[in-house]
Symmetry: C2
Subunit: 593 residues, 2 copies
């Protein structure tokens, strides 16, 4: 039991200045968390109870799925992260430090290396597998822009699990098992999630899915079709036309260069074409007939820079997040004026694919060019002629230019077709709550994790990786379960079961309240008791609504008439019951809830 | 239930090369912990269970004492630690780092600043006090010499609590309450402790006590008398003689200088005196008649150096730890040859107190001199004459030289008198398990923590500080509860309640074992089940003894005769019971234990 007269709790009437999303505002105002530094929070007593409940649900489902809990240090030596290249690849997101002897250390952002080494240390045979391990632990990432309270922070709690199998079949089984466990976790947390295809990115695995919680404040874009397709926008693959055959291409008219002064943007190019270069068949030129050139500098882990040309249909914008995933682990930035000066092959406003490419033996200029998957062999385009005030009309992909490859750099739009043929796509915002993927052998190879297989031969182990953002789950639940008055926790993770409010003035009210509190506690319920003697009923009600305990019991003026109230925070329902019935009524609510 | 056939557990037959103490050897060999870096450990599944049990006992007793749990970040900004000077004072023990924006940060070694600021943030009136807060959290200290497994590490779990009171009387009450809570914690952990006076040191509080666990491998020296005195040697005060009056001093013979060539050590000096300067009353010269000079350089937080002369009786050695406490927060080092060259006032081998001192107006040389408390006014000594090959005999303290103050720099010895008159002292080794002290207003003043008092005036809050080393408690318990075969956990913190061993070959044995395991689990017991099919009984017994689960059940060959064994790890007793009785017998052991 926690008495509000002595609790380390102060509710605030106003939203903190830096808080923009509801969960952040309410968690601070209700005294659950407190900012200690940018993106770093203190868990106050009630907040810590919520955090621990979320952790416990995650723990129980991991245990039920046969995963074993352990705990790695937060402060780690550089060497294992050096072996996997992540010491450099993490860039500025990694908190690095040196100890008193000058040894390089880091604050762990994730623990793939440590899990891999621990298994290498303890396991030697296929008989030790399959194996699933997890921890619930503080992680550190030096986010460039911490935001939205607990949603993007620099110190956070994460559950990370890894599976270890002797072969791919085992990995698929482990993956499927964790997928089921995750469904149960989010079900128990009262958090709707969509299981969306995810890009495994630099991790290089095969299957990869995110558990995305649909919410306006999500940082991810969730793409779904009515036919059941669901993916993070980063993982959506473009539906491309069939490439034409050499014979078909041979029949296409030759390309021709046209003067297009001042047409250095797609919009001005289309206007110019419709005015000065009308098509014979009378169709108007559209932006989708043109190619948009995107010039980037890509940067590898050592900081080495390289120019890159990306061509996408002129009616689409680039999607930087998709591009980021497509280029990872290389980073990138758009060309600056300086870059244009340094690389005169890029004729600003009039760039086209002809002459670009890595294959210098074939006469290309040595600069990589990647194109949207829609730019299949035989498709016809208008693009810059790599010379000021000139474009080429009727450029045929595969005939007039050869790209070094395809890239998913263009935006996905409402109405685009799902890659699995399940109909048109729609886009919503989502927040990543969990991520499961088949990591494969990347870490096992880098750190030489092998075991003896059934034939007595050394075999590299294959791994799966499974994460849940525990801190973020608290925020998402707060975000989902609130109204204009405050929080409304689901029972499974509420900091306390019941909030008892003594709102009268006489000693009788307080004595009866003490009695009811004792009776509720005797039933094993956690009680928050507003026993503050000189606080008005109005303030107590407001605090109660702000704190969001699912059930509250109000003992006040109506006690004289033999009535106390049992309130349900989520529905707002108020039951009037006699003091004798109150415990039974509360138990009913708690157990049904 | 944890099956050993699939558990992430590997026991080792040999002690790890770097392990010298039993707890370290056994915790690693039994698969409870694993070294990740110097002084940094991973908690493997069984170890984590023990750690969590210790944490839970500490948590329950803190809660019962009315302390409220919260959780501060591990990664903190520099500013609060700058305000209290601890950013500098911590020296190399602090892990410092910079974030991507160049802001100075630290890994918290303790959280006084954060607790103080949180209370400042939420509390404004004496009505909010008294208040007690705690956390159980990972701490970081960059120890120069991590050692003995979990006993001295760089990342560890600590429970730190703070009390906040409006006045000293309140602080004394809070302190007393925590003292009782600590007694209960260690009682439940099965860990004998002596409550010893401690030096509050740089913390500057008034009451300060350590909970020292007597053990040979302790780093502290515990000093006790039969009359009930107990203190850390660092806090022992010397029983000094009464100083003589000026009249008494006036009657003492004048000092005289004697040639003492080659007598640059105490031993050679005493030999020389007995040979060349025999006393008139025939008593032999003793080392205790002489003063030993100790020359140090002290260093403040900014690195500024200053020479210091310390004089102690010639029959005693300096105690560096007592000296450290006495000089804190200044650090120190003994004079090097260079220092002797730089400070020619120190005539190596022939240093005496005459002429030393800060009071240059009175003719002193400006170098601080501190003396042992036994060097009271009127005591008579032989000391160096500050000139090669000369000593002064009959030097009278307070007449021939004036010290700048007293210092507790000399060793305490078995047989010395307790300062409270409770008899002779005896010294043993102890390990600090907890520390409670009245911190006072140091942090509240530095960070401006004030509340309105009963008269509506701002008043600085007074604080108490209460720590328990949770990680270290695990090691101490392992150290205390083991034998040559392995660990023998007390039931309160054993990783599991029962270890069931199937040691036969037939399927019958394994089936019966499964049955018994299920029945024990149905009773709510945590079971470790050795179900490994092809492991010999001998190996299973050895593992069981090494792991140290308090009760084990052996189902083996004698099952054919209707007999299974219930073994008690601590006593070694073996009960033969029928399979039907085994659950009842185990429950009896668990509940009595």
């Amino acid at each position: 039991m926690l008495r509000m007269s002595t609790a380390f709790l102060r509710t605030l009437r106003d939203n903190p200045a830096d808080a923009e999303v509801a969960s952040h505002q309410l968690l601070v105002r209700a005294g659950y968390i407190r900012r200690a530094a940018p993106g770093i929070y203190t868990w106050l007593p009630l907040g810590l109870k919520v955090l621990r409940k979320v952790e416990q649900i995650v723990r129980e489902e991991m245990d039920a799925a046969g995963s074993q809990e352990l705990l790695f240090p937060g402060l780690l030596p550089r060497e294992p992260y050096e072996a996997t290249d992540r010491w450099a690849e993490y860039g500025d997101n990694l908190f690095r430090l040196q100890d008193r002897k000058g040894a390089d250390m880091l604050l762990a952002p994730t623990h793939e290396e440590m899990f891999t080494l621990a298994v290498k240390d303890l396991c030697s045979s296929y008989k030790d597998l399959p194996l699933s391990l997890y921890q619930i632990q503080h992680k550190y990432r030096d986010e460039l822009r911490p935001r939205a309270g607990l949603l993007r922070v620099r110190e956070f709690v994460m559950k990370d699990a890894y599976s270890f199998d002797i072969d791919d079949e085992g990995l698929h089984r482990s993956y499927a098992q964790m997928r089921e466990a995750y469904k149960r976790v989010f079900e128990r947390l009262g958090l709707e999630v969509v299981i969306a295809k995810a890009d495994a990115g630099a991790m290089g695995g095969s299957q990869s899915e995110e558990f995305l919680h649909p919410t306006e404040i999500g940082e991810d874009t969730l793409v779904m079709s009515d036919g059941g397709y669901a993916a993070n926008v980063e993982a959506v693959t473009t539906v491309a036309p069939e490439p034409l055959t050499a014979e078909q291409i041979a029949e296409l008219p030759a390309a021709r260069t046209a003067r297009t002064p001042g047409a250095s943007t797609i919009a001005s190019l289309v206007d110019h074409l419709n005015e000065a270069q009308p098509r014979e068949d009378g169709r108007a030129w559209e932006k989708s007939d043109t190619l948009k050139a995107l010039a980037y500098i890509t940067i590898d882990a050592d900081g080495a820079e390289e120019p890159l040309l990306v061509m996408i249909p002129g009616d689409r914008e680039a999607d930087e997040k998709r591009l980021e995933v497509a280029l990872a682990p290389r980073e990138f930035r758009p060309f600056t004026e300086d870059d244009f000066t340094r690389h005169p092959q890029f004729a600003k406003g009039y760039i086209g694919p002809v002459g670009f490419g890595l294959d210098t033996d074939a006469g290309a200029n040595g600069i990589r060019v990647l194109v949207d998957p829609r730019v299949q062999a035989g498709t016809v385009w208008v693009a810059g002629a790599n010379s000021a005030d000139e474009h080429t009309i009727g450029l045929v992909a595969g005939r007039d230019f050869q790209a070094d490859g395809f890239i998913e750099a263009a935006e996905v739009r409402d109405g685009d077709q799902a890659p699995d043929g399940s109909g048109p796509l729609r886009l919503t915002r989502g927040m990543e709550m969990g991520h499961i993927f088949e990591l494969g052998r990347k870490y096992a190879e880098a750190l030489d994790l092998q075991v003896l297989d059934q034939n007595g031969k050394q075999k590299t182990v294959t791994m799966g990786s499974y994460g849940i953002g525990v801190t973020r789950a608290v925020a998402a639940i707060a975000e989902k379960h609130h109204d204009e008055k405050g929080l409304a926790w689901p029972r499974s993770i509420a900091p306390m079961d019941v909030h008892v409010l003594a709102t009268g003035k006489g000693t009788e009210v307080f004595e009866k309240a003490e009695e009811i509190v004792a009776a509720l506690e005797a039933e094993g319920l956690d009680v928050l008791f507003d026993d503050r003697p000189k606080v008005s009923p109005g303030v107590k009600f407001k605090d109660s609504e702000l704190l969001g305990i699912p059930t509250s019991v109000v003992i006040g003026r109506s006690l004289a008439d033999g009535v106390v109230e049992v309130r349900d925070r989520a529905s707002g329902s108020i039951d009037e019951v006699s003091p004798d019935e109150v415990v039974a009524r509360v138990l009913q609510q708690v157990r049904e809830g």
